[in-house]
């Protein structure tokens, strides 16, 4: 077990190094020049050259990369070009908002997905099953930004139940969490349905039913826990995606999370922030997968035995 953890940890470090290297090369090879951007439109060639020298952009790419890695292992992500602040500080300041949105979004996803998926599996092949599957297909096919705008239109602008945008109390998180959760629930419902159908065909379910165990108990105590495994893996993936990928929802709702920080940085060609957010998101993706792998044997003793 310890050896497995260490090996997975080593693999995760290699992946992060690779992500850092590829992002670095991509960002510095791109046609958008941060020095020109910072200097403004009327700057002379000399000003641009000075800025480039100040930021260390005039050094060879490999020197810049080694320098960056050296700082990275000390937990230093560099300084933002435009905000003149440590990137780590900026990201940490945005972390609470992103975490709140992530947790509430995943809660909505799992609650809806688990319920719908179970109902569909129990009615396999029936009208209810087809309805649930169609609805979940609509969920995974709907564009996030349109749903976000429509929820805003109906519940914030027209009914005024929730605020239009911003960060604050519980009422602020409802619409963003619903946008993420309702759409993501489609994937969960399909996954749960498929896992539940597998589980319901197992002998121990038949045994439980033959013993005369109430159907409710068969489902909730015997079937659902055994169908949880794929959900844990999906939550692991979602943790990673939500850490850096909720740019759209954060942009529409003015949610001050990491996605918004990244979006502003992209518009200003603020490369250290873009680098930092990409790395943090990859770290979250890798950690999310790692946690899912480590939690799996705790949920399912059969994996432990292998």
């Amino acid at each position: 077990m310890i050896e497995l953890i260490l090996r997975r940890f080593g693999g995760a470090l290699m992946i992060l190094f690779g992500v850092a290297a590829i992002t670095f090369v991509l960002l510095y090879a791109l046609p958008a020049d941060p020095a020109v951007q910072l200097a403004g439109r009327s700057a002379t060639a000399q000003t641009v050259a000075n800025i480039r020298h100040e930021l260390g952009l005039d050094q060879p790419l490999i020197v810049q990369f080694v320098h960056y890695l050296g700082n990275l292992v000390q937990g230093d992500l560099g300084r933002s070009y435009t905000q003149k602040t440590e990137v780590m500080t900026l990201i940490l300041a945005r972390l609470p908002a992103t975490l709140i949105l992530m947790v509430s979004g995943i809660l909505v996803e799992v609650a809806i997905g688990l319920t719908l998926g179970t109902i569909a599996a129990l009615n396999r092949g029936g009208a209810v099953d087809r309805l649930v599957m169609t609805v979940s297909f609509i969920g995974v096919s709907a564009p996030q930004f349109v749903v976000a705008l429509l929820l805003l239109y109906v519940f914030a602008a027209t009914l005024q139940w929730f605020p239009m945008a911003g960060f604050g109390g519980f009422s602020h998180v409802v619409l963003p969490a619903l946008t993420l959760g309702v759409l993501g629930a489609g994937w969960y419902a399909r996954m749960v349905r498929s896992a539940m159908i597998d589980v319901l065909n197992q002998d121990y379910i038949r045994t439980a039913r033959a013993k005369g165990v109430a159907e409710r108990t068969v489902i909730l105590r015997h079937a659902v826990p055994n169908a949880l495994l794929p959900i844990v893996a999906m939550i692991g993936i979602d943790i990673g995606q939500f850490m850096g990928g909720v740019v759209v929802v954060e942009a529409v709702y003015g949610w001050p999370g990491i996605g918004q920080l990244a979006w502003q940085a992209i518009q200003q060609v603020d490369i250290p922030i873009i680098m930092g957010v990409t790395l943090i998101s990859s770290l979250a993706i890798v950690t999310g997968n790692l946690i899912a792998d480590l939690v799996a044997p705790l949920i399912d003793p059969r994996i432990r035995a292998r």
Binding site: L27, A32, G125, S194, T278, S281
Partner: protein, 283 residues
């Protein structure tokens, strides 16, 4: 082939999907013929006296946008953008995924391993963020957007093709072919590739749904297809600050995106069920 067609027709949702896909394709191809106006024509009577966009009525079936252009016309021309990017970007992604997955699965050993580690690495990238960064920092155009989406989307295909190829390489008929002295190229192209065609078809369809959504998202953020060239995403991008006053400017393009993505998903899902009986009724 006939069996596939018959099984397909037995699924009402798949038939619905196919009909919508065909309608979108026809709408896109015939846009210049059936659209009532030119896509970037700012109509004289396209705005109210106060300068606001006009809601759906008898003249402008889906209303006009903030510049007084006919929304129906722009949606028809936007379908072209979505489909071109959908087909080109997804086609490229499936081709790359097939190539890398097949190569890694066939070579195995250190070279195959290295290719799959690279795929794992790409899986750890925040895909949407990467797409936004690339699209924003290149000067965005239709083709750049298509290539960015292809770069992000090939990974999944590669993993599935890799697993399938691994299974195929172990099979007796490949061994037999090899002992008869067949070269690598012959084995790969005549014996392995044909077995991967169903996978390519399924992902060639399902992937278009993902691509259409991603293109719309990038264009909505303003880093995708650039106005005045119409795309369903940038129509919403251009009018989002007016959306409480003119909700049709969000609703109609939104429905177009949803229906198109949904239909490609329905068709692809049905194809997967039919072409891969082990998956039947499971997902």
């Amino acid at each position: 082939m006939q069996r596939i067609f018959r099984e397909f027709l037995r699924r009402p949702t798949a038939v619905f999907g196919l009909i919508v896909v065909l309608l979108v394709v026809i709408g896109a191809l015939a846009a210049p013929l059936i659209a009532p106006y030119a896509p970037d024509e700012q109509l004289f009577d396209g705005l109210t006296l106060e300068g606001a966009p006009i809601g759906p009525d008898a003249v402008f079936l889906l209303g006009t946008d903030t510049l007084g252009r006919d929304l129906l016309t722009r949606l028809l021309f936007g379908a072209r953008t979505s489909l071109i990017i959908g087909v080109v970007a997804n086609g490229t992604a499936v081709t790359i995924g097939l190539g890398i997955g097949m190569l890694a699965g066939y070579l195995r050993g250190p070279a195959g391993n290295a290719l799959m580690r690279f795929t794992d690495l790409m899986m750890a990238f925040p895909a949407l963020l990467l797409a936004i960064v690339l699209a924003a920092l290149f000067h965005p155009s239709l083709w750049i957007v298509a290539m960015v989406i292809a770069m992000v989307n090939w990974v999944q295909v590669a993993r599935i093709v890799y697993t399938e190829t691994r299974g195929l390489v172990e099979r007796d008929f490949i061994l037999a072919e090899r002992s008869l002295g067949a070269g690598h190229a012959r084995i790969v192209f005549k014996h392995i590739l044909p077995h991967l065609v169903p996978t390519a078809i399924v992902w060639g369809t399902l992937g278009i749904a993902t691509t259409v959504l991603l293109e719309a998202t990038l264009s909505f953020l303003g880093v995708g297809v650039q106005p005045p060239e119409p795309s369903w995403g940038n129509i919403i991008f251009e009018s989002q600050s007016f959306f409480t006053a003119a909700p049709w400017l969000v609703i109609f393009p939104g429905i177009a995106i949803l229906l198109t993505a949904l239909s490609f998903n329905l068709v692809g899902d049905a194809l997967r069920d039919i072409l891969d009986p082990t998956q039947r009724g499971r997902m």
